[in-house]
Protein backbone atom coordinates (compact mmCIF):
# COMPACT_ATOMS: atom_id res chain seq x y z
CA UNK A 1 0.00 0.00 0.00
CA UNK A 2 1.50 3.34 -1.02
CA UNK A 3 1.76 5.97 1.66
CA UNK A 4 3.88 7.77 4.16
CA UNK A 5 7.31 6.23 4.70
CA UNK A 6 9.01 6.30 8.08
CA UNK A 7 12.40 8.01 7.96
CA UNK A 8 15.53 6.66 9.63
CA UNK A 9 14.83 8.45 12.90
CA UNK A 10 11.37 6.87 13.21
CA UNK A 11 7.92 8.44 13.29
CA UNK A 12 6.90 10.30 16.43
CA UNK A 13 3.45 11.35 17.57
CA UNK A 14 2.69 13.73 20.41
CA UNK A 15 0.20 12.25 22.87
CA UNK A 16 -1.37 13.74 26.01
CA UNK A 17 -0.76 10.55 28.05
CA UNK A 18 2.53 9.18 26.68
CA UNK A 19 4.01 12.55 25.65
CA UNK A 20 5.68 10.90 22.66
CA UNK A 21 4.72 7.70 20.85
CA UNK A 22 7.44 6.44 18.57
CA UNK A 23 7.16 4.05 15.64
CA UNK A 24 10.51 2.55 14.71
CA UNK A 25 11.54 2.44 11.03
CA UNK A 26 11.40 -1.37 11.20
CA UNK A 27 7.71 -1.10 12.07
CA UNK A 28 6.60 0.63 8.87
CA UNK A 29 3.57 -1.70 8.87
CA UNK A 30 2.24 0.07 11.99
CA UNK A 31 2.11 3.40 10.18
CA UNK A 32 0.50 1.69 7.19
CA UNK A 33 -2.14 0.10 9.43
CA UNK A 34 -2.77 3.45 11.07
CA UNK A 35 -3.53 4.96 7.66
CA UNK A 36 -6.15 2.36 6.67
CA UNK A 37 -9.82 3.41 6.47
CA UNK A 38 -10.62 0.74 9.10
CA UNK A 39 -8.31 2.42 11.62
CA UNK A 40 -9.05 6.04 10.64
CA UNK A 41 -12.74 5.26 11.31
CA UNK A 42 -11.84 5.08 15.01
CA UNK A 43 -11.38 8.87 15.01
CA UNK A 44 -15.19 8.99 14.82
CA UNK A 45 -15.90 6.56 17.68
CA UNK A 46 -15.38 7.96 21.15
CA UNK A 47 -13.68 5.83 23.76
CA UNK A 48 -16.21 6.55 26.50
CA UNK A 49 -19.40 6.79 24.42
CA UNK A 50 -21.90 8.95 26.30
CA UNK A 51 -19.62 9.88 29.23
CA UNK A 52 -19.12 13.33 27.73
CA UNK A 53 -22.71 14.09 28.76
CA UNK A 54 -21.44 13.85 32.35
CA UNK A 55 -17.73 14.69 32.03
CA UNK A 56 -17.57 17.20 29.21
CA UNK A 57 -13.87 16.58 28.56
CA UNK A 58 -14.40 12.92 27.73
CA UNK A 59 -14.37 13.43 23.97
CA UNK A 60 -11.31 11.30 23.22
CA UNK A 61 -11.60 8.69 20.51
CA UNK A 62 -10.73 5.04 20.21
CA UNK A 63 -8.11 6.17 17.67
CA UNK A 64 -5.93 7.89 20.29
CA UNK A 65 -6.52 5.11 22.82
CA UNK A 66 -5.44 2.46 20.31
CA UNK A 67 -2.21 4.31 19.59
CA UNK A 68 -1.61 4.43 23.35
CA UNK A 69 -2.20 0.68 23.68
CA UNK A 70 0.30 0.09 20.88
CA UNK A 71 2.85 2.18 22.78
CA UNK A 72 2.34 0.38 26.08
CA UNK A 73 2.54 -2.98 24.29
CA UNK A 74 5.86 -2.11 22.69
CA UNK A 75 7.15 -0.85 26.03
CA UNK A 76 6.09 -4.08 27.78
CA UNK A 77 7.97 -5.97 25.08
CA UNK A 78 11.05 -3.78 25.55
CA UNK A 79 10.97 -4.37 29.32
CA UNK A 80 10.76 -8.15 28.97
CA UNK A 81 13.43 -8.31 26.26
CA UNK A 82 15.76 -6.25 28.43
CA UNK A 83 15.03 -8.32 31.52
CA UNK A 84 15.63 -11.72 29.96
CA UNK A 85 18.57 -10.78 27.72
CA UNK A 86 19.61 -12.15 24.38
CA UNK A 87 20.13 -15.82 25.16
CA UNK A 88 16.88 -16.56 26.95
CA UNK A 89 13.98 -18.59 25.54
CA UNK A 90 11.54 -15.84 26.55
CA UNK A 91 13.46 -13.29 24.50
CA UNK A 92 13.66 -15.58 21.49
CA UNK A 93 9.91 -16.26 21.58
CA UNK A 94 8.92 -12.65 22.14
CA UNK A 95 11.16 -11.45 19.33
CA UNK A 96 9.43 -13.93 17.00
CA UNK A 97 6.01 -12.61 18.02
CA UNK A 98 6.79 -8.91 18.52
CA UNK A 99 5.20 -7.74 15.28
CA UNK A 100 2.07 -9.81 15.90
CA UNK A 101 1.73 -8.31 19.39
CA UNK A 102 2.21 -4.75 18.14
CA UNK A 103 -0.32 -5.20 15.33
CA UNK A 104 -2.87 -6.77 17.71
CA UNK A 105 -2.41 -3.97 20.25
CA UNK A 106 -2.96 -1.30 17.62
CA UNK A 107 -5.95 -3.01 16.00
CA UNK A 108 -7.68 -4.41 19.09
CA UNK A 109 -10.60 -1.93 18.97
CA UNK A 110 -11.35 -1.64 15.24
CA UNK A 111 -14.51 -3.76 15.58
CA UNK A 112 -16.22 -1.37 17.99
CA UNK A 113 -19.43 0.21 16.77
CA UNK A 114 -20.63 3.68 17.75
CA UNK A 115 -21.79 3.78 21.41
CA UNK A 116 -20.32 0.35 21.32
CA UNK A 117 -21.54 -1.52 24.34
CA UNK A 118 -25.15 -0.39 23.96
CA UNK A 119 -25.39 -1.06 20.26
CA UNK A 120 -23.80 -4.46 20.78
CA UNK A 121 -26.15 -5.48 23.58
CA UNK A 122 -29.15 -4.26 21.60
CA UNK A 123 -28.22 -6.63 18.80
CA UNK A 124 -28.46 -9.79 20.88
CA UNK A 125 -25.96 -12.34 19.69
CA UNK A 126 -25.72 -10.98 16.14
CA UNK A 127 -22.77 -8.69 16.92
CA UNK A 128 -19.61 -8.95 18.97
CA UNK A 129 -16.85 -6.35 18.69
CA UNK A 130 -14.07 -8.91 19.15
CA UNK A 131 -15.47 -11.08 16.38
CA UNK A 132 -15.88 -7.99 14.20
CA UNK A 133 -12.26 -7.00 14.88
CA UNK A 134 -11.05 -10.49 13.93
CA UNK A 135 -13.22 -10.40 10.82
CA UNK A 136 -11.84 -7.04 9.69
CA UNK A 137 -8.27 -8.27 10.18
CA UNK A 138 -8.76 -11.52 8.28
CA UNK A 139 -10.89 -10.04 5.50
CA UNK A 140 -8.85 -10.56 2.34
CA UNK A 141 -10.72 -7.71 0.65
CA UNK A 142 -9.74 -5.19 3.34
CA UNK A 143 -6.71 -2.91 3.54
CA UNK A 144 -5.46 -4.43 6.81
CA UNK A 145 -5.05 -7.94 5.45
CA UNK A 146 -2.92 -6.71 2.56
CA UNK A 147 -0.60 -4.70 4.83
CA UNK A 148 -0.12 -7.56 7.27
CA UNK A 149 0.49 -10.05 4.48
CA UNK A 150 3.04 -7.74 2.84
CA UNK A 151 4.84 -7.42 6.19
CA UNK A 152 4.81 -11.23 6.46
CA UNK A 153 2.55 -11.16 9.52
CA UNK A 154 -0.16 -13.81 9.61
CA UNK A 155 -3.52 -11.97 9.93
CA UNK A 156 -5.09 -15.10 11.46
CA UNK A 157 -2.49 -15.06 14.24
CA UNK A 158 -3.19 -11.38 14.97
CA UNK A 159 -6.91 -12.22 15.14
CA UNK A 160 -6.15 -15.06 17.59
CA UNK A 161 -4.42 -12.63 19.95
CA UNK A 162 -7.51 -10.44 19.89
CA UNK A 163 -10.07 -13.21 20.38
CA UNK A 164 -7.68 -14.65 23.02
CA UNK A 165 -7.38 -18.09 21.40
CA UNK A 166 -3.68 -17.71 20.60
CA UNK A 167 -1.88 -20.76 22.00
CA UNK A 168 0.76 -18.64 23.77
CA UNK A 169 -1.06 -16.97 26.63
CA UNK A 170 1.83 -14.60 27.36
CA UNK A 171 1.25 -12.92 24.01
CA UNK A 172 -2.47 -12.54 24.70
CA UNK A 173 -1.68 -11.20 28.18
CA UNK A 174 0.19 -8.18 26.79
CA UNK A 175 -2.94 -7.05 24.93
CA UNK A 176 -5.70 -8.45 27.13
CA UNK A 177 -5.39 -9.54 30.76
CA UNK A 178 -5.57 -8.11 34.24
CA UNK A 179 -2.25 -6.42 33.53
CA UNK A 180 -2.57 -5.40 29.92
CA UNK A 181 -1.59 -2.50 27.70
CA UNK A 182 -5.29 -1.78 27.08
CA UNK A 183 -6.08 -1.18 30.74
CA UNK A 184 -2.84 0.71 31.32
CA UNK A 185 -3.78 3.19 28.64
CA UNK A 186 -7.50 3.60 29.23
CA UNK A 187 -7.14 4.32 32.93
CA UNK A 188 -4.61 7.10 32.43
CA UNK A 189 -6.35 8.52 29.38
CA UNK A 190 -9.88 8.42 30.78
CA UNK A 191 -8.60 9.95 34.00
CA UNK A 192 -6.84 12.76 32.16
CA UNK A 193 -9.72 13.52 29.82
CA UNK A 194 -12.51 13.36 32.40
CA UNK A 195 -10.48 15.30 34.95
CA UNK A 196 -11.07 12.53 37.50
CA UNK A 197 -7.61 12.10 38.91
CA UNK A 198 -8.22 8.84 40.75
CA UNK A 199 -7.25 6.87 37.64
CA UNK A 200 -3.59 7.75 37.91
CA UNK A 201 -1.06 5.06 38.89
CA UNK A 202 2.68 4.56 38.58
CA UNK A 203 2.86 3.26 35.02
CA UNK A 204 6.64 3.56 34.76
CA UNK A 205 7.22 1.41 37.83
CA UNK A 206 4.60 -1.10 36.76
CA UNK A 207 6.39 -1.52 33.43
CA UNK A 208 9.70 -1.83 35.24
CA UNK A 209 8.32 -4.67 37.39
CA UNK A 210 6.96 -6.87 34.60
CA UNK A 211 8.28 -10.40 34.26
CA UNK A 212 7.22 -13.89 33.17
CA UNK A 213 5.99 -16.74 35.37
CA UNK A 214 4.13 -20.03 34.96
CA UNK A 215 0.32 -20.16 34.96
CA UNK A 216 -0.91 -21.14 38.44
CA UNK A 217 -3.24 -23.71 36.90
CA UNK A 218 -0.59 -25.60 34.95
CA UNK A 219 1.14 -28.56 36.52
CA UNK A 220 4.51 -27.70 34.99
CA UNK A 221 5.11 -31.33 34.03
CA UNK A 222 7.80 -32.47 31.63
CA UNK A 223 5.24 -33.33 28.95
CA UNK A 224 3.99 -29.73 28.94
CA UNK A 225 5.36 -27.18 26.46
CA UNK A 226 6.75 -24.54 28.86
CA UNK A 227 6.09 -21.65 26.45
CA UNK A 228 2.39 -22.44 26.59
CA UNK A 229 2.33 -21.97 30.36
CA UNK A 230 4.09 -18.57 30.42
CA UNK A 231 2.06 -15.71 31.85
CA UNK A 232 2.72 -12.00 32.23
CA UNK A 233 3.50 -11.38 35.91
CA UNK A 234 4.81 -8.67 38.17
CA UNK A 235 8.02 -9.13 40.07
CA UNK A 236 6.85 -9.73 43.63
CA UNK A 237 9.63 -7.66 45.19
CA UNK A 238 9.17 -4.68 42.92
CA UNK A 239 5.61 -4.66 41.70
CA UNK A 240 3.22 -5.22 44.57
CA UNK A 241 2.50 -1.60 45.45
CA UNK A 242 2.23 -0.53 41.82
CA UNK A 243 -0.30 -3.31 41.22
CA UNK A 244 -2.33 -2.31 44.26
CA UNK A 245 -2.37 1.25 42.96
CA UNK A 246 -3.50 0.09 39.51
CA UNK A 247 -6.40 -1.88 40.96
CA UNK A 248 -7.42 0.96 43.27
CA UNK A 249 -7.26 3.39 40.35
CA UNK A 250 -9.57 1.15 38.38
CA UNK A 251 -11.90 0.65 41.32
CA UNK A 252 -12.29 4.41 41.76
CA UNK A 253 -12.68 5.05 38.05
CA UNK A 254 -15.42 2.40 37.94
CA UNK A 255 -17.38 4.12 40.68
CA UNK A 256 -16.68 7.70 39.63
CA UNK A 257 -16.74 7.50 35.84
CA UNK A 258 -17.75 4.22 34.20
CA UNK A 259 -20.72 3.57 36.51
CA UNK A 260 -21.74 7.20 37.03
CA UNK A 261 -25.46 7.42 37.67
CA UNK A 262 -26.18 10.03 34.98
CA UNK A 263 -23.94 8.40 32.36
CA UNK A 264 -25.53 5.02 32.98
CA UNK A 265 -28.97 6.61 32.67
CA UNK A 266 -28.14 7.83 29.16
CA UNK A 267 -26.69 4.41 28.39
CA UNK A 268 -29.94 2.73 29.45
CA UNK A 269 -31.82 5.21 27.28
CA UNK A 270 -29.64 4.45 24.24
CA UNK A 271 -29.79 0.72 24.89
CA UNK A 272 -33.59 0.83 24.95
CA UNK A 273 -33.62 3.02 21.85
CA UNK A 274 -31.31 0.69 19.92
CA UNK A 275 -33.32 -2.35 21.03
CA UNK A 276 -36.43 -0.74 19.60
CA UNK A 277 -34.59 0.02 16.36
CA UNK A 278 -33.32 -3.58 16.18
CA UNK A 279 -36.86 -4.89 16.71
CA UNK A 280 -38.18 -2.62 13.94
CA UNK A 281 -35.38 -3.76 11.63
CA UNK A 282 -36.31 -7.44 12.04
CA UNK A 283 -39.82 -6.54 10.83
CA UNK A 284 -38.36 -4.37 8.07
CA UNK A 285 -40.08 -1.37 9.63
CA UNK A 286 -37.19 0.99 10.36
CA UNK A 287 -38.21 4.51 9.31
CA UNK A 288 -37.40 5.06 5.66
CA UNK A 289 -35.28 8.15 6.38
CA UNK A 290 -32.85 6.15 8.58
CA UNK A 291 -29.30 6.51 7.16
CA UNK A 292 -28.40 3.57 4.94
CA UNK A 293 -25.37 2.41 6.96
CA UNK A 294 -27.42 2.35 10.16
CA UNK A 295 -30.07 0.26 8.41
CA UNK A 296 -27.31 -2.00 7.16
CA UNK A 297 -26.05 -2.58 10.73
CA UNK A 298 -29.47 -3.33 12.19
CA UNK A 299 -30.29 -5.60 9.26
CA UNK A 300 -27.03 -7.53 8.97
CA UNK A 301 -25.03 -7.06 12.18
CA UNK A 302 -21.58 -8.58 11.86
CA UNK A 303 -22.31 -9.51 8.24
CA UNK A 304 -22.74 -5.90 7.10
CA UNK A 305 -20.62 -5.04 4.03
CA UNK A 306 -17.20 -3.49 4.67
CA UNK A 307 -18.11 -0.33 2.74
CA UNK A 308 -21.01 0.23 5.14
CA UNK A 309 -18.92 -0.57 8.22
CA UNK A 310 -16.37 2.09 7.30
CA UNK A 311 -19.10 4.74 7.56
CA UNK A 312 -20.88 3.24 10.56
CA UNK A 313 -19.66 5.58 13.26
CA UNK A 314 -20.98 8.10 15.77
CA UNK A 315 -21.59 10.61 12.98
CA UNK A 316 -23.98 8.31 11.13
CA UNK A 317 -25.57 7.06 14.35
CA UNK A 318 -26.23 10.60 15.57
CA UNK A 319 -27.58 11.28 12.06
CA UNK A 320 -30.09 8.49 12.67
CA UNK A 321 -31.05 9.98 16.03
CA UNK A 322 -31.62 13.34 14.33
CA UNK A 323 -33.91 11.72 11.77
CA UNK A 324 -35.77 9.72 14.41
CA UNK A 325 -36.23 12.79 16.60
CA UNK A 326 -38.38 14.29 13.84
CA UNK A 327 -40.62 11.26 13.36
CA UNK A 328 -44.30 11.37 14.02
CA UNK A 329 -44.83 10.65 17.70
CA UNK A 330 -47.90 8.56 16.90
CA UNK A 331 -46.06 6.05 14.69
CA UNK A 332 -42.76 5.80 16.54
CA UNK A 333 -43.45 7.28 19.96
CA UNK A 334 -40.46 5.87 21.86
CA UNK A 335 -37.97 6.20 19.02
CA UNK A 336 -38.94 9.85 18.59
CA UNK A 337 -39.03 10.71 22.28
CA UNK A 338 -35.78 8.99 23.25
CA UNK A 339 -33.87 10.37 20.24
CA UNK A 340 -34.99 13.90 20.99
CA UNK A 341 -34.17 13.47 24.69
CA UNK A 342 -30.67 12.22 23.89
CA UNK A 343 -29.92 15.04 21.46
CA UNK A 344 -31.08 17.68 23.92
CA UNK A 345 -29.60 15.96 27.00
CA UNK A 346 -32.91 15.40 28.71
CA UNK A 347 -33.24 12.49 31.09
CA UNK A 348 -36.18 10.16 30.42
CA UNK A 349 -35.64 8.02 33.48
CA UNK A 350 -35.36 8.43 37.22
CA UNK A 351 -32.71 6.24 38.87
CA UNK A 352 -33.23 4.24 42.04
CA UNK A 353 -30.46 2.26 43.63
CA UNK A 354 -31.34 -1.40 44.08
CA UNK A 355 -27.84 -2.46 45.09
CA UNK A 356 -28.99 -3.50 48.54
CA UNK A 357 -31.98 -5.41 47.24
CA UNK A 358 -31.75 -9.17 47.54
CA UNK A 359 -31.85 -10.99 44.22
CA UNK A 360 -35.18 -12.53 45.11
CA UNK A 361 -36.65 -9.05 45.69
CA UNK A 362 -35.01 -7.79 42.53
CA UNK A 363 -36.82 -10.51 40.60
CA UNK A 364 -40.07 -9.57 42.34
CA UNK A 365 -39.51 -5.92 41.39
CA UNK A 366 -39.02 -6.75 37.74
CA UNK A 367 -41.96 -9.11 37.75
CA UNK A 368 -44.10 -6.50 39.51
CA UNK A 369 -43.23 -3.76 37.02
CA UNK A 370 -44.20 -5.99 34.12
CA UNK A 371 -47.48 -6.91 35.84
CA UNK A 372 -48.24 -3.18 36.19
CA UNK A 373 -48.04 -2.86 32.42
CA UNK A 374 -44.62 -1.18 32.35
CA UNK A 375 -42.56 -2.53 29.48
CA UNK A 376 -38.94 -3.44 30.09
CA UNK A 377 -36.79 -1.79 27.44
CA UNK A 378 -39.15 1.18 27.09
CA UNK A 379 -40.63 2.20 30.43
CA UNK A 380 -37.81 0.87 32.56
CA UNK A 381 -34.40 -0.70 32.43
CA UNK A 382 -32.22 -2.43 34.97
CA UNK A 383 -28.62 -1.31 35.00
CA UNK A 384 -26.67 -4.12 36.50
CA UNK A 385 -22.96 -3.50 37.11
CA UNK A 386 -22.19 -6.96 35.80
CA UNK A 387 -22.96 -5.72 32.32
CA UNK A 388 -19.95 -3.44 32.42
CA UNK A 389 -17.64 -3.79 29.48
CA UNK A 390 -14.66 -3.62 31.79
CA UNK A 391 -13.24 -6.65 33.51
CA UNK A 392 -14.44 -7.21 37.05
CA UNK A 393 -12.45 -5.83 39.93
CA UNK A 394 -14.34 -7.79 42.54
CA UNK A 395 -14.09 -11.34 41.35
CA UNK A 396 -10.40 -12.13 41.54
CA UNK A 397 -9.90 -13.25 45.07
CA UNK A 398 -13.32 -14.31 46.14
CA UNK A 399 -13.48 -17.27 48.42
CA UNK A 400 -10.19 -18.90 47.58
CA UNK A 401 -10.89 -18.97 43.85
CA UNK A 402 -10.11 -22.17 41.98
CA UNK A 403 -7.23 -22.61 39.57
CA UNK A 404 -9.26 -21.35 36.63
CA UNK A 405 -10.36 -18.20 38.45
CA UNK A 406 -6.88 -17.31 39.65
CA UNK A 407 -5.48 -17.92 36.19
CA UNK A 408 -8.22 -15.85 34.57
CA UNK A 409 -8.95 -13.04 36.99
CA UNK A 410 -5.97 -12.40 39.23
CA UNK A 411 -2.88 -10.29 38.75
CA UNK A 412 -0.03 -12.75 39.10
CA UNK A 413 3.17 -12.15 41.04
CA UNK A 414 6.35 -14.04 40.18
CA UNK A 415 10.03 -14.16 40.98
CA UNK A 416 11.08 -13.67 37.37
CA UNK A 417 11.74 -17.33 36.66
CA UNK A 418 9.32 -18.40 33.87
CA UNK A 419 9.23 -21.96 35.20
CA UNK A 420 8.03 -20.90 38.66
CA UNK A 421 4.26 -20.54 39.15
CA UNK A 422 2.82 -17.04 39.45
CA UNK A 423 0.78 -16.47 42.57
CA UNK A 424 -2.45 -14.51 42.76
CA UNK A 425 -1.78 -11.06 44.18
CA UNK A 426 -4.59 -11.44 46.72
CA UNK A 427 -2.53 -14.12 48.46
CA UNK A 428 0.22 -11.58 49.12
CA UNK A 429 -1.66 -8.34 49.65
CA UNK A 430 -4.00 -7.38 52.47
CA UNK A 431 -5.12 -4.36 50.43
CA UNK A 432 -6.25 -6.62 47.61
CA UNK A 433 -8.11 -8.95 49.95
CA UNK A 434 -9.85 -5.95 51.52
CA UNK A 435 -10.89 -4.59 48.12
CA UNK A 436 -12.21 -7.95 47.09
CA UNK A 437 -14.27 -8.25 50.24
CA UNK A 438 -15.54 -4.66 49.95
CA UNK A 439 -17.87 -5.62 47.15
CA UNK A 440 -19.90 -2.63 46.05
CA UNK A 441 -22.35 -3.64 43.36
CA UNK A 442 -23.81 -0.60 41.64
CA UNK A 443 -27.21 -1.73 40.47
CA UNK A 444 -29.94 0.72 39.61
CA UNK A 445 -33.39 0.61 38.17
CA UNK A 446 -34.22 3.41 35.74
CA UNK A 447 -37.94 4.13 35.46
CA UNK A 448 -39.64 6.51 33.03
CA UNK A 449 -40.32 9.69 35.01
CA UNK A 450 -43.79 9.97 33.42
CA UNK A 451 -44.73 6.46 34.63
CA UNK A 452 -43.32 6.70 38.15
CA UNK A 453 -46.77 6.96 39.75
CA UNK A 454 -47.62 3.45 38.49
CA UNK A 455 -44.48 1.98 40.07
CA UNK A 456 -44.34 3.94 43.32
CA UNK A 457 -46.26 1.56 45.60
CA UNK A 458 -44.07 -1.37 44.51
CA UNK A 459 -40.89 0.59 45.16
CA UNK A 460 -42.11 1.56 48.62
CA UNK A 461 -43.20 -2.03 49.38
CA UNK A 462 -39.72 -3.31 48.51
CA UNK A 463 -38.02 -0.54 50.50
CA UNK A 464 -36.46 1.07 47.42
CA UNK A 465 -38.13 4.43 47.84
CA UNK A 466 -37.01 4.94 51.42
CA UNK A 467 -33.90 6.73 50.30
CA UNK A 468 -35.90 8.53 47.61
CA UNK A 469 -34.84 8.89 44.02
CA UNK A 470 -31.12 9.42 43.56
Amino acid sequence: MPGQKIKNKGKVFRDPVHRLIRIEPADQFILDLLNTPEFQRLRRVRQLGVSSLTYHGAEHSRFVHSLGVFNFAQRILDTLLRRYGTAHNVTRRLEQSARVIKAAALLHDIGHGPFSHMIERASGSSFDHEKMTAKLITNEEGAIYAILAEAEIDPAEVAQVIDKTHPLRLIVDVVSSQLDADRMDYLLRDSLMTGVEYGVYDAEWLLNAMCVGRDPGSAGGEDENPERTWRLCLDRDRGLFAAEQLILARHHMMLQVYMHRVTRGYEVMLLNLFQQAAALATKNELPAETPQVVRSYFRSGIDMPLVDWLLFDETSMVGALQVWSRLSATDHAFLQRASEAFLTRKRLYIAHSVAKLKLADSMKLQDGLSKRGLAQGIDWGLDDGEHLPYKGVYHGASKGGGAEEQSTLSILLGDGDPSHPGKAIENESGVMRAIDNAREPVTRIYIDREKMSVAEDLLVELGIMQGGAE
Binding site: K164, L359, H395, G402, T408
Partner: protein, 172 residues
Protein backbone atom coordinates in the same frame (compact mmCIF):
# COMPACT_ATOMS: atom_id res chain seq x y z
CA UNK B 1 -33.88 -11.31 35.25
CA UNK B 2 -34.32 -14.19 32.79
CA UNK B 3 -30.74 -15.35 32.93
CA UNK B 4 -30.79 -15.47 36.75
CA UNK B 5 -34.00 -17.46 36.64
CA UNK B 6 -32.46 -19.85 34.13
CA UNK B 7 -29.37 -20.27 36.30
CA UNK B 8 -31.50 -21.17 39.31
CA UNK B 9 -33.56 -23.54 37.19
CA UNK B 10 -30.35 -25.15 35.95
CA UNK B 11 -29.28 -25.93 39.50
CA UNK B 12 -32.77 -27.28 40.25
CA UNK B 13 -32.70 -29.48 37.13
CA UNK B 14 -29.17 -30.80 37.72
CA UNK B 15 -29.56 -30.97 41.51
CA UNK B 16 -25.77 -31.00 41.91
CA UNK B 17 -22.87 -29.65 39.80
CA UNK B 18 -19.32 -30.64 40.71
CA UNK B 19 -16.85 -27.80 40.32
CA UNK B 20 -16.70 -24.19 39.18
CA UNK B 21 -15.14 -25.15 35.88
CA UNK B 22 -17.97 -27.57 35.16
CA UNK B 23 -20.64 -24.99 35.93
CA UNK B 24 -18.91 -22.38 33.75
CA UNK B 25 -18.62 -24.72 30.77
CA UNK B 26 -22.12 -26.16 31.27
CA UNK B 27 -23.70 -22.71 31.05
CA UNK B 28 -21.52 -21.80 28.06
CA UNK B 29 -22.57 -24.87 26.10
CA UNK B 30 -26.26 -24.33 26.91
CA UNK B 31 -25.92 -20.69 25.84
CA UNK B 32 -24.29 -21.63 22.56
CA UNK B 33 -27.01 -24.24 21.98
CA UNK B 34 -29.43 -21.30 21.88
CA UNK B 35 -30.85 -21.37 25.39
CA UNK B 36 -31.43 -18.15 27.36
CA UNK B 37 -28.27 -17.98 29.46
CA UNK B 38 -27.24 -14.48 28.40
CA UNK B 39 -23.80 -14.36 30.00
CA UNK B 40 -20.89 -12.94 28.03
CA UNK B 41 -17.96 -15.28 27.64
CA UNK B 42 -14.34 -14.66 26.77
CA UNK B 43 -11.60 -17.17 26.05
CA UNK B 44 -9.04 -17.71 28.80
CA UNK B 45 -6.24 -20.13 29.64
CA UNK B 46 -8.73 -22.80 30.73
CA UNK B 47 -11.23 -22.16 27.95
CA UNK B 48 -14.41 -20.07 27.77
CA UNK B 49 -15.13 -18.24 31.03
CA UNK B 50 -17.72 -15.63 32.02
CA UNK B 51 -16.99 -13.07 34.74
CA UNK B 52 -20.69 -12.11 34.62
CA UNK B 53 -21.68 -15.67 35.49
CA UNK B 54 -19.03 -15.83 38.21
CA UNK B 55 -20.40 -12.62 39.78
CA UNK B 56 -23.97 -13.87 39.65
CA UNK B 57 -23.10 -17.23 41.20
CA UNK B 58 -21.30 -15.39 44.03
CA UNK B 59 -24.36 -13.19 44.61
CA UNK B 60 -26.75 -16.17 44.62
CA UNK B 61 -24.47 -18.05 47.01
CA UNK B 62 -24.38 -15.01 49.29
CA UNK B 63 -28.18 -15.06 49.40
CA UNK B 64 -28.26 -18.83 49.94
CA UNK B 65 -30.29 -19.41 46.77
CA UNK B 66 -27.35 -21.57 45.68
CA UNK B 67 -25.37 -23.66 48.15
CA UNK B 68 -21.63 -23.80 47.50
CA UNK B 69 -19.74 -26.54 49.29
CA UNK B 70 -15.93 -26.57 49.29
CA UNK B 71 -14.18 -29.90 49.00
CA UNK B 72 -10.83 -31.39 48.10
CA UNK B 73 -9.60 -31.09 44.55
CA UNK B 74 -7.35 -33.32 42.46
CA UNK B 75 -5.59 -30.15 41.46
CA UNK B 76 -2.88 -29.21 43.93
CA UNK B 77 -3.85 -26.76 46.64
CA UNK B 78 -7.00 -25.61 44.93
CA UNK B 79 -10.47 -26.24 46.29
CA UNK B 80 -13.25 -27.95 44.34
CA UNK B 81 -16.70 -26.51 44.95
CA UNK B 82 -19.98 -28.37 44.64
CA UNK B 83 -23.15 -26.45 43.80
CA UNK B 84 -26.71 -27.32 44.79
CA UNK B 85 -29.92 -25.28 44.74
CA UNK B 86 -30.63 -23.52 48.03
CA UNK B 87 -33.74 -24.29 50.03
CA UNK B 88 -35.50 -21.13 48.87
CA UNK B 89 -34.71 -21.55 45.17
CA UNK B 90 -37.71 -23.69 44.16
CA UNK B 91 -40.11 -21.61 46.24
CA UNK B 92 -38.83 -18.43 44.62
CA UNK B 93 -39.20 -19.86 41.13
CA UNK B 94 -42.73 -21.00 42.00
CA UNK B 95 -43.66 -17.59 43.37
CA UNK B 96 -42.53 -15.97 40.13
CA UNK B 97 -44.57 -18.42 38.08
CA UNK B 98 -41.64 -20.42 36.67
CA UNK B 99 -43.03 -23.89 37.29
CA UNK B 100 -43.17 -25.22 33.75
CA UNK B 101 -40.54 -27.72 32.53
CA UNK B 102 -37.66 -26.21 30.58
CA UNK B 103 -36.78 -27.12 27.01
CA UNK B 104 -33.10 -27.60 27.78
CA UNK B 105 -33.50 -29.93 30.81
CA UNK B 106 -32.43 -33.16 29.12
CA UNK B 107 -29.42 -31.52 27.45
CA UNK B 108 -28.36 -30.04 30.80
CA UNK B 109 -28.61 -33.42 32.51
CA UNK B 110 -26.69 -35.09 29.70
CA UNK B 111 -23.93 -32.48 29.94
CA UNK B 112 -23.81 -32.63 33.72
CA UNK B 113 -23.18 -36.39 33.51
CA UNK B 114 -19.95 -35.67 31.61
CA UNK B 115 -16.63 -34.85 33.26
CA UNK B 116 -15.30 -31.28 33.63
CA UNK B 117 -12.59 -32.12 31.09
CA UNK B 118 -15.13 -33.33 28.52
CA UNK B 119 -17.11 -30.13 28.99
CA UNK B 120 -13.94 -28.03 28.70
CA UNK B 121 -13.21 -29.76 25.39
CA UNK B 122 -16.76 -29.31 24.01
CA UNK B 123 -16.94 -25.71 25.18
CA UNK B 124 -13.55 -24.86 23.63
CA UNK B 125 -14.49 -26.46 20.30
CA UNK B 126 -17.79 -24.56 20.19
CA UNK B 127 -15.92 -21.33 20.95
CA UNK B 128 -13.46 -21.97 18.14
CA UNK B 129 -16.25 -22.79 15.65
CA UNK B 130 -18.15 -19.64 16.63
CA UNK B 131 -14.99 -17.63 16.04
CA UNK B 132 -14.70 -18.84 12.49
CA UNK B 133 -12.38 -21.84 12.89
CA UNK B 134 -12.89 -24.17 9.93
CA UNK B 135 -13.52 -27.91 10.26
CA UNK B 136 -10.14 -28.54 8.57
CA UNK B 137 -8.18 -26.48 11.10
CA UNK B 138 -10.19 -27.47 14.19
CA UNK B 139 -7.97 -30.38 15.21
CA UNK B 140 -4.81 -28.26 14.91
CA UNK B 141 -6.22 -25.31 16.84
CA UNK B 142 -7.62 -27.55 19.54
CA UNK B 143 -4.30 -29.38 19.81
CA UNK B 144 -2.47 -26.07 20.26
CA UNK B 145 -4.83 -24.84 22.96
CA UNK B 146 -5.62 -28.08 24.78
CA UNK B 147 -2.78 -30.56 24.23
CA UNK B 148 -3.68 -32.29 27.51
CA UNK B 149 -7.22 -32.93 26.22
CA UNK B 150 -6.15 -34.54 22.94
CA UNK B 151 -7.94 -37.77 23.86
CA UNK B 152 -11.22 -35.89 24.19
CA UNK B 153 -11.16 -34.33 20.74
CA UNK B 154 -13.08 -36.86 18.70
CA UNK B 155 -16.03 -37.27 21.04
CA UNK B 156 -16.13 -33.59 21.94
CA UNK B 157 -16.01 -32.37 18.35
CA UNK B 158 -18.88 -34.67 17.33
CA UNK B 159 -20.94 -33.38 20.25
CA UNK B 160 -20.04 -29.74 19.55
CA UNK B 161 -20.77 -30.02 15.85
CA UNK B 162 -24.10 -31.68 16.58
CA UNK B 163 -25.05 -28.80 18.89
CA UNK B 164 -23.89 -26.04 16.55
CA UNK B 165 -25.67 -27.65 13.56
CA UNK B 166 -28.88 -27.92 15.59
CA UNK B 167 -28.50 -24.25 16.54
CA UNK B 168 -27.97 -23.16 12.92
CA UNK B 169 -31.04 -25.14 11.88
CA UNK B 170 -33.03 -23.47 14.62
CA UNK B 171 -31.93 -20.01 13.42
CA UNK B 172 -32.57 -20.73 9.72
Amino acid sequence: MSRTVELLRLLCVCERVEGRKKLQKLVHILREAGHPFAYRYGYHFHGPFSTELKGEIDALVEEKLIIEHPGESDFGDFIQYTYRPGEGASALLDSLGHRSPVAWASLAKDLNAKSAQELEAISTIIYLIRNGCTTESLLDRFGQLKPYLAGQFEGASKYAQFLTAARSKQLA
